[in-house]
Amino acid sequence: MMNTVTGNTGVPVPNRIAGSLGDRLFHGVAWMAAVGVLLVLGAIIVMLTIGASPAFEKFGFFNFLSTAEWNPVTEMFGGLSPLVGTLVSSAIAILIGLPVSFGIALFITEMAPPWLKRPVGTAIELLAAIPSIIYGMWGLFIFAPFFADHIQPLLTDTLGELPLIGALFQDPPLGISVFTAGIILAIMIIPFIASVMRDVFETVPAELRESAYGVGSTTWEVVWNVVLPMTKVGAMGGVMLGLGRALGETMAVTFVIGNAHKLHLGLFEPGNSIASTIANEFTEADGEVYTASLIALGLILFIITFIVLGLAKIMLLRMAARQEGRPA
């Protein structure tokens, strides 16, 4: 740097040029990386649409979405049952996973004694690193039998007796069902949501927390009125990450969901999801319409993910707007 300062002639010196070239190069590379992501995204959409078009041409987009028949023999395909299976199992996963993750993050940041924070935090992160096939096998060989023998009868006797929602829990306990898949998914996404929540909860300045405690707030009040409002964007990001994983999870779901192309009211009946259907059937799908229908399912999963992320974004913007409108 010393020899770049050569007095007041204003003539650029060699090193300075090299510097600006480096800048421009970096600028270019960074641009390319960013545009590259968009290009890949666009290319995926285009390829999926092209691949799926024979199916949409034959059945019609909305007809494909609203038919539950899936018959490779007659080549009649409809995506309703995997679509419903995907949405229901992911919804169960979030319903169970969200409160538990929130509790874990709350415990680590607010309640745990300092010596326990680290081990628990690390354990959660390790859980996130377990491959999904392990969850699937554990689900099939250990969890499903336990669930069928102990928990399902209990749920049938309690929730199954309730009006309206009772019908969801009345089927015979096989252990292999949409509900089981939802629970396995919940276990899989908890580490993701919990570790993101913990990280964002820790970004809240200690002064804010301490002031709140200082005016006599309980732990719950601090979390609910100080920590959460400050971090909800980040926490929501964690939930979306978890939901994204639940929607697209393939292997673990394939093991426990039962893989039946049938629509059932009961959550204890076997069903299937978009990802598990593709994983099961793609290798042996011969015939243009069959392959196209599987790709169409992929496109639909893509659209669902897109809609979910879009809705989350809109929700966050609304929350932010409301926050700003309120007097500080």
Binding site: N71, I133, G175, T254, N259, P270, N272, N280, T283, D286
Partner: protein
Amino acid sequence: MLKQFASSVAVVALSLSFVSSANAADVTQINGAGATFPYPIYAKWASAYQKETGIKLNYQSIGSGGGIKQIKKKTVDFGASDAPMKPEELDKYGMIQWPQIMGGVVPVVNLPGIESGKIHLDGKTLADIFLGRITKWNDKRITALNPNVKLPDHKITVVHRSDGSGTTFIFTNYLNKVSKAWADKVGNAKAVSWPAGVGGKGNEGVASYVSRIGGSIGYVEYAYALQNKMTYTLLRNKDGKYVAPTAENFQAAAAGAEWGKAKNYYLILTDQPGEKSWPITGASFIIVYKQAQHPDSARAVLKFFDWAYHHGGEMANKLDYVPMPAKVVNMVENTWTKSIHTASGEPVWTSKMVVQK
């Protein structure tokens, strides 16, 4: 998992393989892709063959559908499929196929206290169970066939394959032949619209569901049922005899079959006549082009499979596969000489080329 790994390896291997098949003069490697069911025995043959001749077989078990797609794209020297291709389709692409190895499909049940071979079923009853029309084990249609077995008042849970599979093809082919209701409602394919039950991925998926769920019935490949000591049922064959799933009974089904009358070997060995024939038997097929693009590679493929016909029987038996009967082998060899030729019309393979041990 292994299957997925194999298929990803396949892509790499296929792109590399062009080098070896293009260089026709000295073929050191033959490339094939397809069915997963015969993969263990093809791999076993390949390693023995390499020791004897130095020629390597690169077989990627990516599934029958994948095998057919690859041979159509000409990225491999041969394709392998558990379900035979239709004669019209073979003619359209100028390909031929032959049966290489056999296996059987076995109904397995989970009924505590009931041993293998105790339950007697016939095709119609089996079809009605898989159609969801018989829902209890003590249904009188089942008890009528089993007067000496005490069957429980237990719900039947049907377990089927969730992935497309040659095993399903053979199984539904049988149900199609013996039950009109099945043929009308469901049909015959590698994946069908199952009227009842849960789906397990792969033979191991079906096996684990069957052993998990009390009162369940599923179907798996013979080798799988044998190695996992699953409870199988007896079936009534076309001659009205109750038979057990054994290698001998599979061979009986193949020997009784009229291969000579089947165009392009399009013959599925289900519901064959013969006192000992096991009714759900099937062969796995090899598919090649009639006009060989690279005659030396094509010859290497035929030499390998011919060697397997003549020297691979014992290895097949050890792995619980069933070798083709000698009668069928002769027929296939004649077909090779007659149908597979170079661009100038010379036969690619003649009986003089049999690899000696």
